[in-house]
């Protein structure tokens, strides 16, 4: 389908990308999980209108898509911050005192259990149940970078370095 340039709105482009993703998965409702993963990769979260769009395109009910999107921990229905800080709270990290690290990170960024993204959308702090790097417990993963044998002080230092580099941009 060709669209005259004047008609290409941001909204239009948004759904074009979703369309591509759905086509890549053969419009197969059985591929709902990988489709949502790809959509989230694109938008960093799952916007509500996109979920409805996915449901309509796959010929399934929005309730089923919403059900899957809310069931799995990886899917976020709200936008995440630019940098994701994931604190591992698996058994090994827990017995090596991961919670004080979480408390220190939240205190530094003014976050709480209820609010895990900073107002400036720079950081999201989450806990994960295990990253499988138990030999290095306690572990903090900032974006894709794994930091092992952390302490509250070291974790805050990592965050402050990112803050400094963001400010200098």
């Amino acid at each position: 389908m060709s669209v005259a340039p004047a008609q290409v709105t941001p909204q239009h482009r948004k759904f074009q990308r979703v369309c591509d993703i759905i086509d890549q998965h053969d419009r197969n409702p059985g591929k709902l999980v990988p489709i949502l993963q790809a959509v989230q990769e694109e938008y960093r979260y799952l916007p509500e209108d996109v979920l409805t769009y996915v449901a309509t395109s796959l010929g399934i009910s929005p309730a089923r898509v919403y059900g899957v999107a809310t069931f799995y921990a990886h899917f976020a229905l709200e936008p995440k911050g630019k940098h994701t800080v994931r604190l591992c709270d698996g058994t090994a990290c827990h017995v090596k005192h991961s919670i004080p690290i979480l408390e220190a990170l939240r205190a530094r960024l003014g976050l709480s259990e209820k609010q895990n993204t900073t107002a400036d959308m720079l950081f999201t702090v989450e806990t994960v149940s295990c990253l499988g790097a138990c030999g290095l417990a306690p572990v903090v993963v900032v974006d894709e970078q794994v930091h092992g044998q952390m302490t509250p002080e070291k974790a805050v230092e990592v965050i402050e370095q990112i803050m400094a580099s963001e400010e200098s941009k």
Binding site: N28, P29, G30, K31, L32, V33, P34, L36, Q37, R64, G67, V68, F71, Y72, A73, H74, F75, D89, G90, T91, A92, H94, V95, K96, H97, V128, S129, C130, L131, G132, A133, C134, G135, L136, A137, V139, E144, V146, H147, G148
Partner: protein
């Protein structure tokens, strides 16, 4: 590659590939292997690799990172391996052919390694592992007790091979077992051999793998599936991650053999999304195997086909349960289904399906190449073979180990693990309190169980289970009630909500544990907790709910006194439960500097200058500011 492009009778010549590889690799016997498992990468292995590339070039040597068929000029080979297990000592660098193992290598050490070892042929003593008690330096895996006391089969390959090089796997006899299954054995014979070997599922339950296959084989219908369960959600376990990252082709080959046994032509590897490296390596391995014609149509010149797909999980612990995992692959919420029908009868898309754990599948090629008798010769009568365990927590050598079933806990913790450590990480001889085995489904083992053989049946008899194999060692500073609470919070969050008793019961149990750790409980709370626990066990459909109460029941059984101290004396013996701590200032250590009194936000500290201070426990909020500000370590209990 499709059957049309490649004639079905034309088969892959594994031996010729292996010979070509050996001949090419033989040109550079000198090899530097840097461990690139998740642990070592987090410790900076990539920077070490980069440093090697630079330093080797600076020294005027030629380095290659791949084995190429055509002759080219290289003095040595630099490669990455999967997890070598000794995560605590990473990044690990092995120098072949001498087998020298350097530990905790930093980029700045590399220049010395290049000059002294690679050029000078001498060992850099300071980078060798030092035995903590004697201080003696060990040269490599052949004399480090952590390795010599293990029996590494699957894991040995993990640490030695380049996981991204399919030819190296083939050169070590890879895919020969799959070829034997397709060209020499009938599906029934494959099932019989695996049954005779006594292989039991490594994912937790310990169900005989051969029997599972045979049940699926007997189901009618042309369409069947094989699923590899790599959804290792158990916190504190990472052996499946390491096998997928370090030895991905063994998993693929195991799936091919399973497919032959049951008559499947499609397979799915379901990998936890928290393991990006494992996802990448498995994807590459599947693509390489397809390109070689090892996966696809006309396998080994037969009319059989087998294809594999890799799917990432989306973060739900319950998907480790097989029916929930199937629902997840079908694009639904990962909720378990009642059994029967078992997946063997009606699994993925309603077709007969075999689901095996990663480690189980990785063992299968070994059974077919070395024989069921050899496999049975290790381990115990009812639990043959070896098992990998993720050894973590308060232990000197954290990492990944593999031992025969039946090895005692003492051997694992004190000899391989190098003993218990205190909170500061220093070895302590009197520190052992418990081992938590099997994660949120498992239980605790105490000092009395140190000589218990680790196998499926012995562990079940004491209320624990092998589970996926997470072994978390805990020292005396660990509060067992908070450990139980930790697992309960985990299972409560991960309960899918289908069964009322699991959904509501875990919530209530968590609330009761909160009461205990926050000083609101009585002795009746303990009875109620036990009652709810037993109800949850009985009233849940799947393994998650059935086993969720295990950590609580097992800590209640072995550490009841600790629970009682929490509820009767309102005291946490380990001093971990914040709400029960009694804040105090050690008069002998306090210098009367008044810093804590000035810092205290609620004015709970009083005292005269240069005299010992004290804390009013009623005013104190346990915020900990005083303890942080005290330069003399006089404040305790906050």
């Amino acid at each position: 590659m499709s059957a049309r492009e490649r004639a079905p009778h034309q088969t892959v010549d594994l031996e010729a590939m292996a010979r070509a590889y050996e001949a090419a690799a033989g040109r550079y016997p000198r090899r530097v292997v840097v461990c690139a498992g998740t642990g070592c990468v987090a410790n900076g292995a990539h920077a070490v690799i980069q440093a090697f590339v630079e330093q080797i070039a600076a020294a005027g040597l030629n380095v290659t990172t791949e084995v190429r068929a055509e002759a080219h000029d290289a003095d040595l080979r630099l490669s990455k391996s999967g997890c070598q297990g000794f995560c605590q000592q990473g990044p690990l660098v092995t120098i072949e052919p001498e087998g020298i193992l350097y530990t905790r290598v930093k980029p700045e050490d590399v220049a010395q390694i290049v000059q002294e070892t690679l050029i000078g042929g001498k060992v850099v003593e300071r980078l060798l592992y030092a035995e903590p008690v004697t201080g003696q330096r060990c040269h490599g895996t052949a004399d480090i007790p952590f390795y010599t006391r293990q029996r590494r089969t699957v894991l040995r390959a993990c640490g030695a091979l380049d996981p991204e090089d399919i030819l190296e796997y083939i050169s070590r006899g890879g895919y020969a077992a799959a070829r034997r299954a397709y060209t020499e054995l009938s599906p029934q014979a494959v099932c019989e051999e695996v049954t005779f070997a006594g292989l039991r599922g490594r994912g937790g339950g310990g169900f005989p793998t051969g029997r599972k296959w045979d049940l699926t084989r007997k189901q009618p219908g042309p369409k069947k599936y094989v699923i590899c369960n790599g959804d290792e959600g158990d916190p504190g376990a990472f052996m499946d991650r390491s096998v997928m990252e370090g030895h991905p082709h063994s998993v693929i080959e195991g799936m091919m053999i399973a497919a032959r046994a049951i008559g499947a032509d499609e397979g799915v590897v379901y990998v936890r999304a928290e393991y990006p490296l494992a996802v990448r390596r498995i994807r590459k391995a599947v693509a390489d195997a397809e390109q070689m014609g090892l996966l696809g149509d006309g396998l080994f010149g037969t009319e059989h086909s087998f294809r594999e797909e890799v799917m990432e999980g989306a973060g739900a612990f319950v998907c480790g349960e097989e029916t929930a995992l199937i629902a997840s692959i079908e694009g639904k919420r990962g909720m378990p289904m009642p059994k029967p029908p078992f997946p063997a009868q009606s699994g993925l898309f309603g077709k007969p399906t075999v689901i095996n754990n990663v480690e189980t599948l990785a063992m299968v090629p070994l059974i077919l190449t070395e024989g069921a008798v050899a496999f049975r010769s290790v381990g115990t009568e009812n639990s043959p073979g070896t098992k990998t365990f993720a050894l973590t927590g308060h232990v000197a050598n954290t990492g990944l180990i593999e031992v025969p079933f039946g090895t005692s806990l003492r051997e694992v913790v004190h000899h391989i693990g190098g003993g218990v450590t205190d909170d500061a990480g220093h070895p302590t001889s009197q520190g052992f309190k418990a081992v938590q085995i099997g994660g949120p489904s498992g239980g605790c083992l105490t000092e009395d169980h140190l000589d218990l053989p680790l196998d499926f049946d012995s562990l079940r008899s004491v209320g624990a289970m092998v589970g996926s194999g997470g072994l978390v060692v805990m020292n005396k500073q660990t509060c067992m009630v908070s450990v139980a609470r930790f697992f309960m919070r985990f299972t409560q969050t991960e309960s899918c909500g289908k069964c009322v008793l699991c959904r509501e019961g875990t919530k209530q149990m968590l609330a009761l544990l909160d009461d205990i750790t926050e000083g609101r409980a009585t002795l009746e709370t303990l009875d109620l907790l036990e009652k709810v626990a037993k109800a949850v066990q009985k009233g849940s459909l799947c393994g998650l709910g059935k086993t969720a109460p295990n950590p609580v029941l097992s800590t209640l059984r072995y550490f009841r006194a600790e629970y009682e101290a929490h509820v009767v004396q309102k005291r946490c013996p380990a001093g971990q439960c914040k709400a029960l701590r009694v804040p105090s200032i050690d008069a002998a250590l306090c210098k009367g500097c008044t810093l804590c009194a000035r810092k205290c936000p609620v004015g709970a500290i009083s005292g005269q200058k240069k005299e010992a201070h004290w804390i009013d426990p009623d005013k104190c909020t346990r915020c900990g500011v005083c303890a942080q500000s005290c330069k003399f370590g006089a404040v305790t209990g906050v």
